[in-house]
């Protein structure tokens, strides 16, 4: 039986996963060389999640993440050189080196940031989704967070509102089974995070996050459901990080055997084997992709290395918006490339808010039944 997937789709997903993997391996290496400092949380092992999500949604859908945030923007199309330069703390980075590893922002590609406080982005995502509805746009917001974030208060507070107000947001819990060094089962009353959606009458599901095709299918379906106005979805992608929590973590809290077993599930060779078995692509085509990606990552490291440190007068910029200060387009600033898809928002005058959070007729009916006067 022929595969239901196009060659193009499979190769695109392969290229993205391979880019994420190579980029992160080089980031780890550069950390070892002292070029990258602070925390550096690698995504190695989890690539199927970001690659599957990206092909299943629209490029103009909003996205945000936690502190393990280098790879997801790469899947969106962010410039690897600018991400690497940010890790190096250099002017060429997306945030001019002011955000670093945990705060990659690429607004042009609708990636609204990595956040260093566990779970904080869950609330922000609801607000971005709220804005889409407020403006009658049909874009959705995709919010990544880890299994540990599901124990934060903001997770519960936000899910409640998201369901009640039918916000177009897809919450993807990347359950890699460990919150830093603590196995989720040790601290969570319900370690199957997706089941918590039940408490809020929220559509919820678990997906094999080591299988890019399963991720792709599940997200495509969930995105269509959300875009149709049905409200949010909580998706748990069961995945595994092959490395420690951050570069500073030797990961002694899990056995060698466990990691070896999980490595057999590596999503990257898995996709390659599938495509070859389905006769959709040949070994040489993968070799070519791998060679191109290696060059791309080499170039990224070179770009980051050659990019200067920010000047000291940068200290006093980017804290407060001064009057009349213009928007900064990072790609234009760094690469001199013309930015064409910088987001533009309708002015207040053009905007007509037609949506009701609490339809008036419904509210009045409920009041009348209860004998209340509005």
């Amino acid at each position: 039986m022929a595969s239901k997937y196009s060659k193009d789709l499979l190769l695109t997903m392969y290229r993205k996963m391979y880019l994420m993997r190579r980029f992160e391996e080089r980031a780890g290496q550069q950390y070892g060389l002292g070029k990258i400092a602070g925390f550096c949380h690698l995504y190695i092992g989890q690539e199927a999640v970001a690659a599957g999500v990206e092909e299943a949604i629209r490029p103009d859908d909003y996205m945000l993440s936690g502190y393990r945030d280098h790879a997801q923007p790469l899947a969106r199309g962010s410039d690897p050189g600018m991400v690497m330069a940010e890790l190096f703390g250099r002017t060429g980075g997306y945030s001019k080196g002011k955000g670093g590893s945990m705060h990659i922002f690429d607004i042009e590609n609708h990636f609204y940031g990595g956040y260093g406080i566990v779970g904080a982005q869950i609330g922000l995502a609801a607000g971005m989704a709220f804005a889409s509805r407020y403006r009658n746009e049909d874009r959705i917001t995709v919010c990544y967070f880890g299994d540990a974030a599901a124990n934060q208060g903001i997770f519960h507070e936000t899910l409640n509102m998201a369901v009640k107000w039918k916000l177009p947001v897809l919450y993807i819990c990347e359950n890699n089974r460990y919150g830093m060094g603590t196995a989720i089962a040790r601290v969570a009353a319900v370690p199957e995070i997706h089941k918590r959606g039940q408490a809020f009458n929220m559509r919820h599901e678990a997906v094999d996050g080591m299988d890019v095709l399963k991720m792709y299918e599940a997200v495509k379906d969930a995105a269509a459901y959300i875009r149709a106005g049905n409200g949010p979805v909580l998706m748990e992608a069961n995945t595994y990080r092959f490395r420690g929590h951050s570069m500073a973590d030797p990961a002694t809290y899990r056995t060698k055997q466990e990691v070896e077993d999980e490595r057999k599930n590596d999503p990257i060779p898995r996709l390659k084997d599938y495509a070859i078995a389905q006769k959709l692509a040949k070994e040489e085509e993968f070799d070519a992709i791998e060679a191109q990606v290696k060059e791309q990552v080499d170039a990224a490291v070179k770009f980051a290395d050659e990019s200067p440190e920010p000047s000291l007068d940068e200290l006093w910029k980017d804290t407060i918006v001064e009057e009349g200060e213009e928007d900064v387009r990072p790609r234009e600033r760094v690469l001199g490339a013309k930015v064409t898809n910088w987001p533009k928002y309708p002015s207040g005058q053009e905007l007509k808010v037609t949506w009701d959070l609490e339809p008036r007729e419904q509210a009045e009916k409920a009041d009348k039944a209860a004998g209340l006067k509005r």
Partner: protein
């Protein structure tokens, strides 16, 4: 000019700004059908609908995060805190996100949001409901902090705050909502960052803000009767501080008393004294004196509650101290 209550002036500012810009919306507990816990949002639900006047669940952290997210993509949320005491639950979103988004994104993001609600003590609500938290927020780069004393300033500052491209904390006086004053109709703007000389005088400057202004006025009247001419500078904005206005009034009177409702340690008043001593030392004829709330938690007992807060007699005594008069 119309005489309006402080809460009505705020209501007018909100309505005018929502009329002017459809990106502006209000979210908070009881702001809609209940018409506002302190009636600031009275009538707005009927006028603007439930998508723009949003009754939030009691989830300060959650709905504050929602507001910040909406501001990141260009809406202009006004987040009402039922009181600033409850906003302590939302600190992470205000401080770790709203205040830092612009910096962490290298200038890619703006966060035009207003967090507003009542602060300060009074009404015998004990410790958890009686805090002047201005200095808490004034501490953080990336935030602006305003605290109006009069209905006219309340309207003008709220309009500025809503139009500002940055996160603005607006701490209203819980005990001021029913206070009346003349408020200009329509386009009345008070710029953020500009203090206001509310009373001209030549012997001593009292520097203050929000509700404490009224105690300072009371003290000034008593002192006037004794032949002491008092100037009162109402800071109105606590971040950024209007250094020029602070130094100008000290240059004029050569003596200063700084009055604040909050606790003394790391208070905004401490920063005002630092500005005066480091940049206006040569203009001083006496050390600056501070009047603050006592360094204790607020009590329920009426006499203790009164004793903890600054009042006119304490301010009179402080003025006499900087003038080296009796009782000092």
């Amino acid at each position: 000019m119309a005489e309006l209550m402080y809460r009505e002036a705020l209501n007018q500012a909100l309505a005018e700004e929502m009329e002017r810009d459809a990106n502006v919306f209000l979210i908070g507990e009881e702001v809609g059908r209940y018409q506002g816990a302190f009636k600031v949002s009275q009538g707005l639900l009927d006028r603007f609908g439930s998508a723009r006047i949003i009754d939030a669940p009691i989830s300060e952290l959650g709905f504050t995060g929602l507001g910040v997210g909406a501001a990141m993509v260009g809406l202009r949320p006004v987040v009402e805190m039922m009181t600033w005491n409850f906003a302590i639950l939302a600190m992470d979103q205000i401080v770790n996100n709203a205040a830092k988004l612009r910096h962490m994104s290298g200038g890619q993001l703006r966060c035009p949001i207003v967090f507003r609600g009542p602060g300060g003590a009074g009404g015998r609500l004990s410790s958890q409901h009686s805090q002047a938290l201005e200095s808490t927020y004034a501490h953080f780069p990336g935030l602006k902090v305003v605290a109006p004393a009069t209905p006219a300033d309340a309207k003008g500052l709220l309009k500025s705050a809503i139009r500002d491209e940055n996160p603005v904390i607006m701490i209203e006086g819980e005990r001021l909502y029913a206070l009346k004053g003349e408020v200009p109709e329509g386009e009345h703007i008070v710029p953020i960052g500009k203090a206001d000389v509310k009373r001209e005088g030549k012997d001593v400057s009292i520097i203050t803000w929000s509700r404490m202004y009224y105690f300072c006025e009371e003290a000034a009247k008593q002192l006037e009767a004794e032949g002491i001419s008092v100037e009162i500078l109402d800071l109105r904005t606590l971040r950024p501080l209007d250094e020029e206005a602070i130094l100008a009034t000290v240059r004029k009177t050569n003596r200063a008393v700084v009055v604040e409702e909050g606790w003394p340690l790391a208070g905004v008043g401490a920063q005002v004294v630092d500005i005066i001593q480091s940049k206006g030392f040569d203009d001083l004829d006496a050390p600056v004196v501070r009047v603050t709330g006592l360094d204790v938690n607020m009590s329920y007992a009426a006499n203790l509650e009164n004793a903890i807060q600054p009042d006119a007699p304490k301010i009179v005594a402080a003025v006499k101290k900087v003038l080296y008069r009796e009782g000092a």
